[in-house]
């Protein structure tokens, strides 16, 4: 299920030193700076002291082509604001947003409308469906705005309706659908224009836990097919772990840490991140490739396991094989040896040292 991301692949969307300040005169803090400061945290405090609200402070990250980039944070952490800055639903106060290398903030209104029509799709927490349109018209709405004929847009809408599994519901109105179905409509609508970049703002937060899990699987299935560049917002750490290729944790408008889920678990940047990671059932997240023991020597006699095997499934074998198991990559090459000792060492280095500190 997990796609390993190559860090050298193309950067699709890039967010550079983005600030969003609310208040009387937000611009005054950024004259001629491009949002770059030696000490951003200190500058944010200066702004706060001047009775302005700092929604985003010096946010920078890259989203690679075909990657699921998750932004995780609690309410008020600025995650919804940053995704709106990326789509310019909210105008950033300072910084740059590069889509395919071009600064989005320098685009005219007309250009922006064109970009939204062809390159971006967005899914909203409370669905944002047009109450006066039925399912197929809702989904075809972006095409209607582009002036595409009815036959043409229904044909395209049918295609995404199939993709999200809403066949037979074409003529229903949003209020006749369950929450999960409504969000399927939202997803279909955001995909109908075949966007390159796909924003999802807490798409499953309004759904019941079981439906949420179902929709997450559904989402991963769709992504498997389409390979969009995705920015996914959530407040649910478990959800982030399930779907993220890479993720950023936000707090008070700033990014605390960026990395693969496993990096965050094994090397949390501070106690704030650790508070999320400490309750993670590590055996379901850790993969054998993450606990390689560099001190152990490999030998052909050892049992071979695939690198992406979950540690949970390996535990009995680690217990039985004193000298560990041989870990191999997807191409069959040997990555190293995993041992019980290596596992213990990884855990000791990671989030679990918190209990020691406390």
């Amino acid at each position: 299920m997990k796609r390993s991301t190559n860090d050298h692949s193309d950067v699709k969307l890039s967010c550079r030193n983005v600030w969003k300040i609310y208040g009387r005169q937000p611009e005054q803090f950024f004259e001629g700076t491009q949002g770059r400061f030696a000490d951003a945290a200190q500058h944010a405090d200066v702004i706060r002291d001047a009775d302005h609200i700092v929604a985003n402070a010096d946010v920078s990250f890259d989203v690679h082509a075909g990657e699921i980039f998750v932004i995780m944070g609690l309410s008020g952490s600025g995650k919804s604001t940053i995704v709106r800055c990326l789509s310019r639903l909210v105008e950033p106060t300072a910084g740059e947003i590069l889509l395919d290398g071009e600064d989005l903030l320098k685009k005219s209104d007309a250009e922006l409308i064109d970009i939204r029509r062809h390159k971006m799709g967005m899914v909203f927490q409370s669905f944002g469906l047009m109450p006066h349109l039925n399912v197929i018209d809702n989904i075809a709405f972006p095409l209607k705005l582009q002036g595409i004929t009815e036959n043409e847009r229904y044909a395209q809408a049918k295609r995404v309706i199939e993709l999200v599994g809403l066949e037979g519901r074409e003529n229903n109105f949003p209020k006749e659908l369950s929450g999960g179905q409504q969000q399927r409509v939202g997803i279909a609508r955001s995909l109908v224009v075949e966007p390159d970049v796909w924003f999802l703002d807490e798409p499953f937060s309004a759904l019941d836990p079981l439906i949420r899990k179902l929709m997450q699987d559904e989402f991963l299935r769709i992504q498997e097919k389409l390979h969009k560049s995705i920015v996914f917002i959530t407040h649910d750490f478990q959800e982030a772990l399930r779907i993220a290729d890479r993720m950023a944790i936000m707090r008070d408008g700033a990014v605390v840490q960026i990395g693969r889920p496993i990096d965050l678990i094994l090397n949390p940047a501070d106690t704030y991140v650790r508070e999320f990671t400490q309750d993670v059932p590590w055996e379901r997240i850790l993969r054998v490739e993450d606990i390689l023991d560099e001190t152990a020597s490999d030998s052909v006699e050892l049992e071979r396991v695939a690198g992406n095997t979950l540690v949970a499934t390996l535990l009995p074998r680690l217990a039985a094989h004193h000298s560990g198991v041989l870990v191999e990559g997807e191409d069959g090459s040997v990555l190293g040896v995993a041992t019980a000792r290596g596992l213990t060492a990884a855990l000791a280095a990671g989030s679990f040292s918190l209990s020691k500190e406390a």
Binding site: L89, I113, R116, R117, G128, L145
Partner: protein
């Protein structure tokens, strides 16, 4: 000290002290009792001069508008009169059916037949043609202003107070300036009704457009909508229900104003029939004609409300062409069929005279039979209310209590006893930690003893201003003082007091009885089901018509006015009380039940305190309704501001009429702000949200 006074209470004690001093000195200093004539600002003369200038120099402009508006009215009237009744009736029934179904179509058919049978078809069509032009115009104007207010906060800040004034200045007051500017004729009714009916459309437009959820807007933006597309394809359709609600309210307001405007005469519409028959004391006729208005109002209301309701359920659009446009096709075919039939069968073209039934004469006879036979009972009711309720409030116990009325002379001993008893009551309340209640008892005791008209104006002004200050802060207190000051210096204070007196009694009675009924209805579904149609009918009934039954039985006078006001103003009190109690959070009720509250404790200690903010909004509406009705009640002989407005209209004295009208608007706005401020304060304290 036994009683703990805080600073606010001390302020009030000061106010009471000043009041007593004023009362003691008012014989000495007569300017306190009666504002001196020489100091009255001749604002009405100035206004008249301005108006004369406008009429002289800009009159051509307004007459031009008037001329331009005359044509569409004439055209619609021509069409409505030229069409055979069968075609018109069929078309209306089809619209009713499309809007709401068979039941409303049946009711519409009944209403149209009633107009025919009673013989008021042509008058009804005249009214309808005015409404048919005024409603679209009001909606257009209202929508435009609403959109402007929606996009510009600055515009909204200018528009909303203007709406307040347009809706609170009594309708009679602006009939005259319109008459002077636009000349005599149907156009006056049209313009007055547009002015009166576009404000609800503005409000609903702003509320509707604002209410579209931000995510719907964002998803529209992300779909690549241009600003124009965002407005017409996202905002407007998503707020359609609220917009149609505005259409419904504007239509009702327009109809009621068209009726009121017929007071000017020369229109030959149904309102004129009602008015002229009331004046000739032909009650049967006026009641029958009044029924036409009521039926018309109900049909129009149900049709527009039905459309607003329907806007929520969208039809699947996989229907065939015939199904989709079925109503239109049926209407077209039916109209042609009836039009052809009407050429052949005369009775379908024009309702034969011989088929008209007019029971007015029989009704008049029945009425006079009742009035003659129950004269003693009717007189007794009137006297009781007059001697024991109305007079004491108006001229105070000191004037009302006499051997002729109460059966005994008011002696010094009585007065001292009254004073001691009231002081003791107030003291007891203060002792029980209810200092505010004690103060309220003291003030009302003073007012009831001296009567509203016997209170020196500086004292009343002070009491109101301090009340405004305590409830809504410094701005409201200052506003109250300035507003009432305007009433004083323009010399209309005595009449204003008479208006307040009549309204005050009506409001008190309506609120107490209405709330009691509302509480009952909240606890009993049967009562609720019985009360609801009554409320609906009373509310859609044009104010005019409501007067008729009371005038019939109780003749002209203040008592009749009082009853008519109560009949209209009791509705919101009932509605809000029931709504407030029924929408309480269930958890609170459950918690109180588990604690072991008895029914009585539940009502008085849990439900009513929590529902009080909503009930206060009901009180606000009760007051606004009673002021609206008071204006109309001037027709049956009252003495307050509303009468000046009415006299100003009939004498053609623009300045006097408009000043009195503004005076009423000031009173209405002050009370509105006070009750709203109080309700908001309580809500915040309780952490509830209403509306």
């Amino acid at each position: 000290m036994l009683v703990k006074f805080n600073r606010g209470d001390l302020h009030w004690l000061g106010v009471i002290g000043v009041t007593l001093v004023c009362l003691a000195l008012q014989d000495e200093w007569t300017w306190m009792a009666k504002y001196p004539k020489d100091l009255i600002l001749p604002i009405s003369d100035w206004l008249n001069a301005v108006m004369d200038w406008i009429v002289a120099y800009l009159g051509w402009f307004f007459l031009g508008i008037s001329w331009a508006l005359e044509w569409p009215i004439k055209a619609v009237r021509f069409v409505l009169h030229a069409l055979p009744w069968s075609v018109t009736t069929f078309l209306f029934c089809t619209v009713a059916w499309a809007a709401s179904g068979w039941k409303l179509a049946g009711f519409t058919l009944f209403s149209m037949l009633y107009m025919l049978v009673i013989g008021y078809w042509s008058e009804s069509m005249n009214t309808l043609s005015l409404v048919a032009i005024s409603v679209p115009l009001a909606i257009l104007v209202g929508f435009a202003f609403g959109v402007w207010g929606f996009f510009s906060h600055r515009a909204e800040r200018a528009i909303v107070p203007m709406l307040d004034v347009l809706q609170t200045v009594p309708s009679f007051a602006y009939l005259l300036p319109i008459l002077m500017l636009f000349g005599f004729g149907t156009v006056v009714g049209l313009i007055a009704s547009v002015l009166y009916s576009f404000p609800p459309m503005v409000r609903n437009t702003i509320v509707g457009l604002r209410g579209v959820s931000p995510e719907v807007i964002e998803s529209g933006l992300m779909s690549g909508a241009t600003p124009r597309q965002l407005f017409w394809q996202v905002r407007v359709p998503a707020s359609l229900r609220q917009l149609l609600l505005g259409v419904n309210q504007a239509t009702m307001a327009s109809l009621s104003m068209v009726i009121i405007a017929s007071i000017i005469g020369g229109t030959a519409d149904i309102g004129w029939v009602v008015l002229s028959t009331i004046r000739k004391a032909q009650f049967g006729e006026s009641l029958l004609a009044g029924m036409v208005i009521a039926l018309m109002a109900m049909v129009i209301d149900r049709i527009t409300a039905g459309l607003a309701d329907r806007s929520g359920d969208y039809e699947p659009n996989d229907k065939s062409f015939a199904k989709r446009y079925g109503a239109w096709i049926a209407a077209g075919v039916g109209a042609v069929v009836f039009l052809t039939l009407a050429q052949v069968i005369g009775a379908l073209n024009e309702w034969p005279r011989g088929w008209e039934v007019n029971p007015a004469k029989a009704m008049n006879e029945a009425l006079s039979y009742i009035v003659v036979n129950f004269r003693d009972e009717i007189e007794a009711i009137k006297k009781l209310a007059f001697f024991f309720v109305m007079l004491p409030v108006k001229i105070g116990l000191q004037g009302a209590v006499s051997p002729f009325t109460w059966g005994f002379e008011l002696t010094l001993a009585h007065t001292i006893g009254y004073a001691l008893f009231m002081t003791a009551l107030a003291g007891w309340a203060a002792y029980r930690d209810k200092v505010k209640t004690g103060i309220a008892i003291l003030i009302s005791a003073i007012v009831i003893y001296f009567g509203l008209t016997g209170m020196p104006w500086p004292a009343l002004l002070l009491i109101c201003a301090v009340a405004g200050w305590k409830i809504g802060g410094r701005a409201l207190g200052l506003g109250t003082a300035l507003g009432l000051g305007f009433i004083v210096v323009t010399g209309i204070w005595p009449e204003a007091i008479l208006s307040i007196y009549l309204c005050g009694i009506a409001v008190l009675f309506s609120f107490l009885v209405g709330t009691a009924i509302g509480i009952w209805a909240a606890h009993n579904d049967t009562v609720s089901a019985i009360v609801r149609p009554f409320n609906d009918t009373l509310q859609t009934m044009p104010l005019f018509v409501l007067l008729i039954p009371f005038v019939m039985v109780f003749k002209i006078g203040e008592f009749t006015a009082l009853l008519a006001i109560i009949a209209y103003a009791i509705v919101p009190a009932i509605r809000y009380a029931e709504h407030g109690l029924r929408s309480l959070p269930a958890t609170v009720i459950e918690a109180a039940t588990m604690i072991g509250a008895t029914n009585r404790q539940m009502l008085w200690q849990v439900k009513i305190p929590l529902a009080l903010p909503v009930m206060m909004l009901g009180l606000n509406q009760t007051i606004m309704y009673s002021i609206a009705m008071l204006v109309i009640a001037a027709l049956v002989g009252t003495n307050g501001l509303e009468q000046i407005v009415y006299i100003g209209l009939s004498d053609g004295d623009f300045g006097v009429g408009i000043i009195a009208g503004i005076g009423m608007a000031i009173i209405a706005i002050i009370i509105d702000r006070m009750t709203h401020a109080w309700s908001r304060k309580r809500q915040e304290e309780l952490g509830l949200s209403v509306e």
